[in-house]
Amino acid sequence: MTTEPILKGRGLVKRYGRVTALDRCDFELYPGEILAVIGDNGAGKSTLIKAISGAVVPEEGEIYLDGQQVLFQSPIEARAAGIETVYQTLAMSPALSIADNMFMGRELRKPGVMGKVFKKLDRPAMEKFARQKLSELGLMTIQNIRQPVETLSGGQRQGVAVARAAAFGSKVIILDEPTAALGVKESRRVLELIQDVKARGIPIILISHNMPHVFEVADRIHIHRLGRRLTVIKPGDYAMSDAVAFMTGAKEPEKEAA
């Protein structure tokens, strides 16, 4: 590929005590593509995207965004740079409403004195936006946007988290198993949403254990094993069984591909 990666990681290392979750891991994401990341449980996929999104600070290695080295100390900084993430744990506050959760950390204030002096939240505007984004996603018809997130089903919660990322991501969107709790129909909607986001020109990192989904939407597949990138394949070049074999170590790839 001749274009420069929009996001690039080099030699990333992260240890949790004696566990090395990331072991000199390299990584690239190119403009406009959908990059799937697959790997066994505990391979370090979530840790990799946490390092990229500022949720953990890698002990070694560099991350480049648009060719510029970045060192995010917190998710807030990564978000400010346009990287939006759906974490595997969803990062929701159960007792707060759907709208409050969607706008957590970037709340809208009322115009004029109420907003400036009294810092009053513009709830109607936030609720309208949240309702609109959720209907766009088509995942759900919302009756009560003020409903606490803890009263939603696991899949509905996941839908809200995906809608939040899709609504605010401007540069890169990272999805850590966004369909794990979703039904067949809802998963389909998320896959369509991923295609929509791609059509908007925003590249996506998709972590998933669902091989048919991965092979359907991904432009490239990053296979993660034992804390590092084993290889990158194109879905057209290999069968799902090959990918699974690489992932589990049953088979070795011939070369550092792609």
Binding site: A55, S74, P75, I76, R79, T85, Y87, T89, L90, A91, M92, S93, P94, A95, L96, D100, N101, M104, G105, R106, E107, R109, F118, K119, K120, L121, R123, G138, L139, M140, T141, I142, Q143, N144, Q147, P148, E150, T151, L152, S153, G155, Q156, G159, G183, V184, K185, E186, R188, R189, P212, H213, F215, E216, P235, G236, A239, M240
Partner: protein, 359 residues
């Protein structure tokens, strides 16, 4: 080969005929209990409010106009003003899933600072009050830093700070009381919060008004500002809040510093209420437990992130109603403690029930 042909269509093809209204949030029909449960879930201050109104009515029926008079009812407000202000502070900490054992001692220390700065150093009373508030804020900041940055449990941090502040208070004041008369003559500003306003039989003090304004201002901030939402989010699940873009450290620091400041206000209210400045005021020893009691009766969850500060205010009033009512009825004061004990356990039971998502 093209792998997607092999599998994905096979089971998803039937989707085309599926109904298009998916995963609706519509409230399905719930029984009366279910709807009541939802109401409590959304309005957690409702339970203490009901208990408060019921307690006032029952004591009013039993004791008649003695109790059910503007004088007696506003007397309750005066008697709870210190605990009420401390409970407002305690609510903020408990909403972040913490606890503050140092609030009462800090109130006493700041009142001592206000008095001693005026009388020992000749600082104008207005400035001395500001110094007291500043020292309160500073101690709060120390608590906050130890909790947020050093990541010590709030219980341990404030257990230590309680002892430190209480001892510093005795050492600094040399255990001397500044008498009410002296303050009245030389620095009446220190007693400002004790200024009374009469309205018919009702008597309000500035301290009472300050308490009410403070509670409603905090209720507004917690409900309708981003800061308030962040306080709830950090208390509910700090990890999730941080991933969602909340600055956990800044939120915690702001809460602990604000709480220190409010303890300073409580110290000022104490001077107004007692007239004198005494380092051995009982608030230093039991203020923490009194405020936690009000918060728990008020339905704020000790696990953080749930409850309303209005509830804590009602909790403080409930305790005040029981104390005055039982005293007027001539009951042994131990009955008050016994009933408050029952209320605490009942409140936590109700809290557990409310926290259950499906009734």
């Amino acid at each position: 080969m093209s792998p997607q042909d092999s599998s994905s269509d096979s089971y998803e093809s039937s989707l085309s005929g599926a109904s298009s209204d998916v995963a609706s949030f519509e409230d399905h029909h719930k029984g009366f209990v279910g709807r009541f449960h939802d109401l409590l879930h959304g309005t957690p201050a409702l339970v203490p409010l009901i208990v408060l109104v019921a307690a006032v009515l029952i004591f009013g029926l039993v004791l008649g106009s003695n109790f059910f008079s503007p004088f007696a009812l506003t007397l309750i407000l005066q008697q709870v003003q210190i605990v009420g202000v401390l409970a407002a502070a305690q609510s903020l900490i408990i909403l972040t899933a913490g606890i503050d054992l140092s609030v009462g001692a800090l109130a006493v220390l700041t009142s001592v600072v206000m008095g001693q700065f005026t009388f020992r150093y000749g600082i104008p009373p207005f400035l001395a009050v500001l110094c007291g508030l500043a020292i309160g804020t500073g101690v709060g900041a120390a608590n906050g830093w130890l909790v947020s940055k050093v990541k010590l449990p709030p219980f341990i941090v404030t257990l230590g700070m309680w002892q430190i502040v209480l001892a510093a208070n005795y050492l600094y004041s040399k255990n001397e009381t500044i008498r009410a008369q002296e303050i009245e003559q030389q620095a009446p500003f220190l007693q400002l919060m004790g200024t009374t306003l009469k309205l018919g039989g009702a008597t309000f003090t500035l301290g009472v008004i300050m308490m009410v304004v403070l509670v409603f201002a905090l209720a507004y901030a917690l409900r309708s500002t981003a800061w308030g939402r962040h306080v709830y989010a950090v208390g509910d699940d700090a990890e999730a809040a941080q991933l969602a873009g909340v600055n956990r450290h800044r939120t915690l620091m702001s809460v602990y510093m604000l709480v220190g400041f409010i303890c300073g206000l409580a110290g000022w209210v104490m001077i107004g209420r007692f007239g004198s400045v005494s380092p051995s005021a009982t608030t230093g020893v039991i203020g923490n437990i009194q405020s936690i009691t009000a918060v728990v009766i008020g339905g704020i969850s000790l696990f953080g992130g749930r409850g309303s500060i209005l509830g804590a205010f009602f909790g403080a009033l409930i305790v005040g109603v029981f104390e005055l009512g039982l005293r007027m009825a001539g009951a042994n004061p131990q009955w008050t403690y016994l009933l408050i004990g029952v209320l605490i356990i009942a409140a936590v039971t109700v809290d557990q029930w409310i926290r259950k998502v499906s009734a």
